[in-house]
């Protein structure tokens, strides 16, 4: 009997087990892929779970139109290399079709709007399960969500109606119209993800590493990338800094952090020193209110 497994092995084993449960329990699952490090880890775990077979699900990307070009290139290269199916649906198209009002303001965020596109793509392909890379350490509402999280027809999460989830027994049975969001890396922290990327030598989009970038320094001290979607005014403080991204969200609402991290080791040591949480450092949208995430999830966000 060997000693207890390393914690990264345990987290990896758990995630692979969950992915295989999805394959075994659902007719039409999908993996929501954003080009961010968490969903990149999911793809890596899916390779371990299913090769030499094909993935029993396509990758689905809800393209907000505000993506970093580096993340899109990474996505396309990855899909070509793996030979897996990719479905892309654009928030832009949803806005036109549904005559929605596009995000406005200085840093227009389509975070709320992407929920519409996500629900549409679920309906279009009749997905019964959507695998996502959310982690419980990201935010307090997520800390209470199940690994198999049942959503109603409107994609809504009801924390009071969650199914009990015991041992490693996952109940994915649903009624027609419902679907399940599945979070195989629920129990990973940001640091766990980085340690795993290091151990597995997983390649990432370049914006995770330090680079020079022109940014607007906002009043609350965040560094926002200048780009075609952001209105620069004469009063703005525009600076060029060595920065990297801790999360890869939209260009419009994801802040960069100053960094000297050229390698994954550098990132890990920076994180160990970091005094600000991942979402707090980089997401403008979660700063809006304390219960912002809870409300978005109830409305169908993943």
């Amino acid at each position: 009997m060997k000693n207890k497994l390393d914690y990264l092995d345990q987290l990896e084993n758990e995630a692979i087990y969950i992915l295989r449960e999805v394959a075994g329990q659902f007719e039409k699952p999908a993996l929501l892929f954003s080009g961010g490090k968490d969903s990149i880890c999911l793809v890596h775990l899916a390779l371990k779970a299913f090769r030499p077979g094909k993935f029993p699900f396509p990758l689905v990307h809800v393209d907000t139109g505000h993506n970093f070009p580096e993340a899109l290139k990474y996505r396309d290269d990855l899909v070509t290399e793996l030979g897996e199916k990719l479905i892309v649906r654009k928030v832009e198209d949803t806005i036109k079709e549904k005559k929605l009002v596009d995000a406005k303001g200085k840093f227009p965020s389509r975070n709320g709007l992407q929920t519409y596109t996500l629900l549409d793509v679920i309906e279009e392909f009749e997905f019964d399960a959507c695998i996502g890379g959310a982690r419980r350490d990201e935010e307090k509402a997520r800390a209470k969500e199940r690994i198999f999280s049942v959503r109603d027809e409107f994609g809504q999460w009801d924390p009071k109606k969650q199914r009990p989830e015991l041992w490693n027994i996952y109940n994915g049975k649903i009624n027609k119209g419902e679907n399940v969001r599945i979070f195989p890396i629920s129990n990973w922290t940001e640091l766990d993800v980085w340690n795993y990327i290091k151990r597995e030598k997983i390649e990432l989009p370049s914006i995770y590493f330090t680079h020079e970038r022109e940014c607007i320094l906002t009043e609350n001290g965040q560094l926002m990338n200048t780009n075609e979607f952001v209105q620069i005014e004469s009063s703005d403080v525009v600076v060029t800094k060595k920065v990297r991204y801790r999360t890869v969200g939209d260009m419009t609402c994801t802040a960069a952090v100053e960094s000297e991290a050229y390698t994954i080791d550098d990132i890990i040591s920076e994180l160990k020193e970091a005094k600000i949480s991942e979402r707090g450092a980089t997401r403008m949208d979660d700063r809006v209110s304390e219960a912002a995430m809870e409300d978005r999830k109830k409305g169908g966000y993943f």
Partner: protein, 414 residues
């Protein structure tokens, strides 16, 4: 680095959330922006310390308003020695269901006792659930020692009372630590005020409690989650059975029995991450290839021929009823054990367990939310299982209502 999963049970008044907040805060696991938010919230809810540590774990808005924890919240922190996953569960009687959930995966239970009140109904309830779920380690943390002047005699009395109460529970390993979460005594650092207590502070205890030998006596168990058949030119005849080693170990050449079809064969090859391996150990996700082409599908169990589980259509179990709707006699249910599902019926509610005394009470045949009962179950197809006391991985199941699809009960097989 090792991983320890533990759960905490206790209610708001026991200072459970404060204890977890203290562990996270004093071990530098909280970032500055979260502390800022908490400081703001603490002022608005009128907390009497600078930061209300309990707010760290009380996640949902409804809870913040009501000041109670309504569900299982997971929290993570690590020290140089271990990574920890905390399942934080509420202590109220109506949340027995959540405690069952949070405890089911835990290596250790922290049961909080208020030093002023000693052993209460709640302490008993949590201990009995820990016993039913066979949690490997139980730590009784006697909290609020500051409010009893750090009295050694008070602590000793509680320890004696607890030991007396816990005798029939067969808890595997019980430890005791006096502490004050609010004042920070004996949580992360040893307190001078409690220097009469010789053991470690809580954090050191969590870092050192032995978690390496839990699975020694468990027989090897493997269940098929998914059949991999690429059907490509390169892998034309490839047929692999993907699953994880639930307990024990498997190696190439092992003689095995496939259940419930009851066919003997040999492991031809084991793969992990596209490499062939000789030996697969507990919790590893693998793909097994068998020598013979046998009838096997998701949920089939592969076991060594010299160490068989029971394979039967009848079983006795202890159930925790978890649905808001009460059990209806004759109700058709689905039983799920890991990846295996079969239709099932609870034939008899044999007795009800008093979760404050552990006595078995006469049953009137009903089961309501949070009831724990001894039952007799019949299944449509045979189930391969071990007693939960012998193997947590093959002796546990859930019951699903076929109509609502809700998980209505969790069971441990006698």
């Amino acid at each position: 680095m090792e991983l320890l999963r533990f759960f905490t049970a206790g209610n708001v008044d026991d200072g459970k959330s404060t204890l977890i907040g203290r562990l996270l805060y004093d071990s530098n696991s909280i970032s500055t922006d979260i502390i800022e938010t908490l400081t703001k919230q603490s002022k608005t809810t009128g907390g009497n310390t600078d930061i209300d540590l309990a707010l760290l774990t009380d996640g949902l808005r409804a809870e913040r308003e009501q000041g109670i924890t309504i569900d299982v919240a997971y929290k993570y922190f690590s020290t140089a020695k271990r990574k920890f996953i905390i399942a934080d569960t509420p202590g109220h009687i109506q949340y027995t269901r959540n405690m069952f959930t949070g405890a089911s995966n835990a290596d250790l239970a922290i049961i909080l006792v208020d030093a002023r009140n000693g052993i209460t109904d709640q302490t008993k309830r949590h201990s009995i659930i820990s016993s039913i779920l066979n949690i490997p380690h139980v730590l009784v943390c006697v909290n609020k020692m500051d409010l009893v002047n750090y009295s050694e005699a008070t602590f000793n009395q509680i320890v004696a009372d607890y030991k007396e109460f816990a005798k029939p529970l067969n808890l595997k390993d019980i430890s005791f630590i006096p502490a004050s979460a609010l004042a920070g005594d004996n949580v992360v650092t040893k307190s001078e005020k409690l220097n009469w207590h010789k053991g470690p502070a809580l954090l050191e205890f969590l870092e050192t409690v032995n978690i390496t030998d839990q699975n020694e006596n468990e027989a090897s168990r493997f269940q098929v989650q998914y059949v991999i058949r690429p059907q490509t030119e390169d892998h034309h005849d490839y047929r692999g059975y993907a699953g994880k080693v639930l307990s024990g170990s498997y190696k190439k050449g092992d003689k095995v029995l496939v259940l419930p079809s009851n066919i003997e064969t040999v492991i031809e090859k084991i793969e992990k991450d596209q490499r062939e391996i000789e030996l697969a150990e507990i919790s590893e996700p693998i793909i097994i290839h068998l020598k013979d082409d046998v009838d096997i599908s998701r949920g089939s169990t592969i076991v060594p021929i010299n160490s068989l589980p029971k394979t039967e259509k009848e079983l006795n179990a202890t159930l925790c009823w978890m649905d808001n709707a009460a059990f209806i006699p004759g109700q058709k249910l689905l039983l799920q054990q890991n990846s295996y599902r079969t239709k099932a019926v609870v034939k008899e509610v044999v007795s009800k367990i008093d979760i404050h005394t552990f006595d078995q009470l006469e049953s009137d045949g009903s089961m309501k939310l949070n009831d724990i009962c001894k039952v007799f179950i019949k299944t449509a197809e045979p189930l391969s299982f071990d007693s939960y006391k012998r193997n947590r991985n093959s002796g546990a199941f859930i019951l699903i209502n076929e109509n609502t699809n809700n998980t209505v009960a969790a069971g441990t097989i006698d």
